[in-house]
Subunit: 348 residues, 2 copies
DNA sequence: CTGTACATAGAAAGCGCTTGCTGTGACGTT
DNA sequence: AACGTCACAGCAAGCGCTTTCTATGTACAG
C-alpha cells in the first residue's frame, strides 16, 4: 500500500541502506547511483516515514515552540521569527524540520503536558517563549523536565524568559526591569509625578520585572508611590481599558499611565478618550514591546522596543545549532526606549 | 540510558505487551495488574517513545494546523480554538495529541512543505485555515497532497477555506462573499454612493470573494464602480493606512472606505484621522472579521463578524473525529453584520 | 467431575528505517 | 607483479513499540 524504502531500493536496484544514505546525504554515494535512487524516489512518489526514521536514528526533526497565547502578536511575532530559522539546513539530514508551535494558554499544566509530548516525540529542540510562572512547585517541575529534555539530547532555548540555571537551557532574557525603569524615568523627566501603572497578571516574571523597573525609577527620583496607582490585569486591550477606568476612579489627578504592554496601552488610550481626556495633553500614556501597530496609532505610542524578531531568530538559530550559545548560556536582550507622541510634559 | 517499555515491564513483573495495553487502555487488563504497571511507570519516570509507537501502530498523535500568518490574530484565534479541541480524549490512546501550528507565511511552497512533513510524520489530522491561493498548478499540487494525506488515514479539515472536492477533505467555508455584500449594502443603505475598497492581496480566495460581494452590492443598487475606488494591499494595518492615503488622493470625494479586514480598517482610520477627516462624520469606515479589538476602538468598527472561535473549535472537533462532518463534507459559515459607530450616513 | 467459555497474560513477529561492519572491485605504489 | 588503499555498496542487527495469536487459569454448566 504505502511505498517504503525497500520499494525504492528495489526499483533503483540498490540496497535499502544506499537509499537511506542518499536521502540523508551523510555518506559517500556515487553520483550515478544517487541519481538512480532519486529518480526512483520521484517515480514512486516516496515519502520518508518520519517515526521509523526517528526511531532508528533516535532523533526526530520536530522542533517545539511554546507560547503563552498564540492569539497575541507578541508571541506570534516571536514564533514566526523562530520558525523562520527552522527548516533550513543544519541538521542530520540537512533537511526540513517541522517547527511546531504549542499554545499553553498560560496554563502551567499545559506547559508541562506539551513538554512531555515533545519529549515523547524526541524533539530535536524546544524553544520556550514569554515569561515564566512564579510558583515554586511548578518551577521545580519545569526545571526537572527541561533538564531531562536536555539530557535526552533536545536542545532547550528560553526566549524572553528568565534563565533556568542547572537545567542546561540557553536563555535569551529580555531586560524587562531595565526597560521598565527607563520608560518611567523618561516620564518622570518629562515632569510627571503622579503615574498610574497597569500591570500584567500576577505571578508572571514579566509582570514583576516591569513593575520593579517602574518602581525603581520612582524610588530613584524620590517619588513615593501611592498603592492606588497600581492595578493588575491581563495582557490585553480590554484589560487596559478597564484598568484605566479604575485608575481614573481611584485618582483622577494622574498625569500619566504606564501600561504593561502595548495592547494594554491601546485599551488605556481608548478609556482615556472615552473619559474625555486628551492624549498626551491631559494624560500621557506609555506602553511596552513596540508591537507593529504602536507606531501607527494616534498618537503614536511611547514605548520600549523589544527586538522580538531578532531575539526569536537568534533563539531559533541556537536551537538549530546554527549559532553558538552566548557565554554562560545566558544573554540579556535590552529594550530600547521609543519616544513618541503619546507621552509629553504634564500640563502647566 | 533511557527507560523503555521493557524496563517498566520487568519492574512490574509483566510482559511488555501488558504494559503497552495498560498505557493504551484498549484491552482488558486486570485492575491489580494495571495498578502495578502504573506504579512502575511512575517510579521509573517512563516516557513513551512517540516515534516507536507511531511506527508500530502506523499512526501518530500529531495534529497539524496550517496558518498563513501566525502573527495575525485572525489566525491566532482560530489556531487557538482548534488547539483547544485537540488534546482531549477521542483517539486510540484516549491520550493527548500534539496540536502543532505551522506558519506558512502565505507561501505556497511552505504550505506544501509542511504538508509533506506532516505526511511524513503520519499526522492524525491536518487543519488548514485561511484562504487558499488561486493558482492552478499550486491548487492541483495541493489537492493531490490532500488526497494522499486522506488516503493515508489523516483526517483533513479546511477551516475558512474554499472546499476542495475530490480530495475528501471536510470544508468549513466562510461566506466571505455574502458578508462582503451585506456590509456594502448596509453602507449603501446609509446613503453612500462613492465607496473606496481596500482589498487584500490578489490571488487569494478570501480577497476575491469579499471583493465580489462588495461589487455585487454596488451592482444591485445600480452604482457604477469607478476603478480608482479599489486598491489592493496586504492584510495588515500599515497596508490599510497607505491604501487609504492612496484612495484619498485618487478621489477625495469618497464618503466611505470598506476594508479587507479589521486590521486594514484600523489603518484606514488612522490615515483618515491624519488627513484631518473625522469618522464617521466625514468618512465612514467598515472592516471585516470583527477581531476582538474592533469593538474597542474609537469609534467602534462596523464590520462583519466571523465566528472564528466557533468555526475553529468545530474544525478541531471534526479533525479529532469527535464531531460528525457536515453533510456532503461542506458547511458554509455565515458572517454577521455588526453595525457600530464607524459607519453613518454621509453628510448633507 | 469433565467440558466449554471467558478473562487475562505472554510470545513473537513485525512496523520502516539507520548504521557499524564487512565485502569488493578499481587504482596506485613499490 | 603483488599488495595496500580507497571509494562504494550491501548485510544484518537493531531502534521501542503494537498486536495477533496462543496459552493458561478460573468459573460455570451439564
Amino acid at each position: 500500500m504505502t511505498v517504503t524504502l525497500a520499494d525504492v531500493a528495489a526499483r533503483a536496484q540498490v540496497s535499502p541502506a544506499t537509499v537511506s544514505r542518499v536521502l540523508n546525504g551523510n555518506y559517500p554515494v556515487a553520483a550515478s547511483t544517487r541519481e538512480r535512487v532519486l529518480k526512483a524516489v520521484d517515480e514512486l512518489d516516496y515519502v520518508l516515514n518520519g517515526p521509523a526514521s526517528a526511531l532508528a536514528a533516535a532523533t526526530s526533526d520536530l522542533v517545539g515552540i511554546l507560547v503563552n497565547d498564540i492569539a497575541d502578536p507578541f508571541f506570534g511575532i516571536m514564533a514566526s521569527a523562530i520558525q523562520g530559522e527552522i527548516g533550513g539546513p543544519g541538521g542530520r539530514a540537512g533537511g526540513e524540520r517541522l517547527g511546531v508551535v504549542c499554545n499553553t494558554g498560560g496554563s502551567p499544566e499545559r506547559e508541562l503536558t506539551y513538554l512531555t509530548l515533545l519529549q515523547r516525540q524526541r524533539a530535536a529542540a524546544v524553544v520556550l517563549t514569554g515569561g515564566a510562572i512564579e510558583n515554586a512547585s511548578h518551577k521545580a517541575a519545569m526545571d526537572t523536565k527541561l533538564r531531562k529534555l536536555g539530557d535526552a539530547g533536545t536542545r532547550v532555548v528560553l526566549c524572553g524568559r528568565p534563565p533556568a540555571p542547572e537545567t542546561g537551557a540557553v536563555a535569551l532574557t529580555f531586560d524587562n526591569r531595565g526597560g521598565g525603569q527607563e520608560l518611567t524615568e523618561h516620564l518622570i523627566g518629562l515632569g510627571h509625578r503622579r503615574l498610574g501603572y497597569i500591570a500584567g497578571p500576577q505571578e508572571r516574571t514579566t509582570t514583576r520585572h516591569r513593575l520593579e523597573g517602574h518602581r525603581a525609577a520612582l524610588a530613584a527620583h524620590g517619588i513615593e508611590e501611592d498603592p492606588r496607582w497600581t492595578v493588575h490585569g491581563r495582557y490585553d486591550r480590554r484589560s487596559g481599558y478597564e484598568a484605566t477606568l479604575e485608575l481614573l476612579r481611584r485618582d483622577p489627578s494622574l498625569t500619566a499611565v504606564v501600561a504593561a504592554n502595548d495592547s494594554v496601552a491601546l485599551g488605556a488610550c481608548a478609556a482615556l478618550r472615552d473619559s474625555g481626556l486628551r492624549i498626551p495633553d491631559d494624560v500621557s500614556v506609555a506602553g511596552f514591546d513596540d508591537l507593529p501597530f504602536s507606531i501607527d496609532v494616534v498618537p503614536a505610542l511611547t514605548t520600549v522596543r523589544l527586538p522580538l524578531t531578532e531575539a526569536g531568530a537568534r533563539a531559533g538559530r541556537i536551537a538549530m545549532g546554527r549559532e553558538e550559545a552566548p557565554p554562560g548560556g545566558i544573554a540579556a536582550v535590552r529594550g530600547e526606549l521609543m519616544v513618541r507622541g503619546s507621552a509629553a510634559a504634564p500640563r502647566e
